[in-house]
Assembly symmetry: C2
């Protein structure tokens, strides 16, 4: 079985959407990525940090899905990273109400020895120096390194971000961030500029409008599944990244054609994530539902024109 | 050969985008629909009205594409409908600067006798009473009636609009208009409500984010082709409608599976329309380019996951 190494936050989130609000619940990029990737045949481990206020049951939730948590440092007397956000009516935009870095402020990631030869590395959204440090610790060159990031790092750690972007194979980024990073409004031009920064594959996430995969002159598009109700978009991008990297790790095939499949798997899993608050839907999801919805993706997109 | 009957404006447009501006050029829904549909094997006719200020060369441009213009009334001493719009930087929104109805104000459409048995009727954006009058004049029931409309008629002629919506098979409408018409934010819910108003098929156009086709519980999605530069979106929706109705008329197959193909043909043709001002790109387009880009649509959307 192939190994997937995941780095990212494991955190508390408090979320408010037009449909309701939560107290502090389980969140964090690595949490969503790990749960999503657990739908594939692979071994996975998370590198992250929490405080000793982090509930045992949340950690058990990860180990129950065979996720190795030996790389999640628990800081005695420390407080877990906390994020709180308020979504606007259209759910496409949100305000960050609270960001308490807490134990994340001094985080030094430690990759478990067993995962220093992981085939796929998924660098979830975190400080670019933390992402770099994880890559530095690898003892064999991974078959694929995927990077997720956000505008926050473009604003306050651009040189470090550009340095890690140069080292990865795939970058996943949303449309506004792609525009900010490249200075180009057209996503086709933005992807071309980001290619020049290093990554051979550029994935641009457009939320409810789907995702684009660029590889040189080639483009692939996966729609988001049209849903009656999007309840809470939190974690959708990370769930997408977990499905993408998890499928690649399982199939061990980094061709462009297989990445198309990976994008579809990522979109498919993300379509469940948004149906409930936080990780609620993903935790109760079973593989049969995943396969059923994949069929919906096929009938949503496949057509028969002969050329 | 099947017949396609088109009703809609034939007009002057003056357009300003971030890339430049035009004087009065050829425009109008029926113009774009007719040019787009002319890429298929069919006979077509336009029902519309212009003033005697309308240049002979514009009419010749239509007849050169084998479009029957005997249903385009030329009002002596009348002035042609004129629309002027200014697109914002993202090209997704625009301000209407001028709307001069002119000869359109008293327009009584007259369907040419030869087209009173047309297999497909494309009711382009116009007053709902004009659209109704065209349907009233048909002597045999068309195989498919497609309606395009806009928010303007929802604001000022809603009862008349609802009456014509009840009589058509397919409605094409953009996302904001679907929300206004249905009172639902979710496009899935909006489509379900619009189904109840009459049309068995609901096409929701999302501009650069593609188009959705709903038929009961079934959904199909066609992306817009990612382009380096969108130069002028004017006429893209009409070009889409012309490709959709033109392909249906050619293939004479109104199954859901064939409508998927029709949506792709419509998106494909619309992707050319936006590359230049007005009808400029469509007029110079050849069938080889159309086929080449269809291949791009296939590789953009088709994947190999076996389920």
């Amino acid at each position: 079985m192939n190994k997937l190494l995941i780095v990212g936050t494991v955190a508390f989130d408090a979320i408010e959407t037009p449909f309701g609000k939560t107290d502090k619940i389980l969140g964090g990029a690595a949490t969503y990525i790990g749960i999503s990737a657990s739908f594939f045949n692979l071994q996975s481990a998370i590198v992250s940090v929490v405080g000793d206020d982090f509930p045992e049951e949340y950690l058990k939730l990860l180990t129950d899905r065979n996720i190795d948590i030996s790389g999640i440092e628990i800081v005695k007397g420390g407080k877990t990273f906390f994020w709180s956000g308020l979504y606007h009516n259209d759910l496409n935009s949100r305000d960050t109400l609270v960001t308490e870095l807490n134990v994340l402020a001094d985080f030094q990631p430690k990759v478990p020895q067993d995962y220093k030869n992981a085939e796929v590395v998924m660098l979830g959204n975190l400080h670019p120096l933390v992402q770099s440090s994880v890559l530095d610790q690898m003892e064999t060159k991974p078959k694929l390194v995927v990077l997720d990031t956000m505008n926050f790092w473009m604003d306050c750690a651009l040189p470090e971000l550009l340095a890690i972007i140069k080292r990865v194979d795939v970058i996943t980024i949303n449309d506004e961030e792609a525009r900010q990073l490249s200075g180009e409004y057209s996503l086709v031009k933005a992807a071309a500029k980001i290619h020049q920064m290093g990554p051979k594959y550029v994935v641009i996430k457009k939320g409810e409008h789907g995702a684009l995969l660029f590889h040189g002159e080639e483009v692939f598009f996966a729609p988001a599944l049209p849903l009656e109700e999007v309840f809470d978009p939190t974690g959708a991008g990370d769930t997408f990244a977990g499905g993408f990297s998890g499928f690649i790790a399982q199939s061990e095939n980094v061709s462009f054609d297989n990445m198309k499949n990976a994008i579809i798997h990522g979109s498919n899993l993300a379509s469940f994530c948004v149906e409930k608050f936080g990780t609620e839907r993903m935790i109760k999801l079973d593989k049969k539902e995943v396969v059923e919805r994949l069929k919906q993706f096929k009938s949503l997109t496949q057509f028969e024109i002969e050329i």
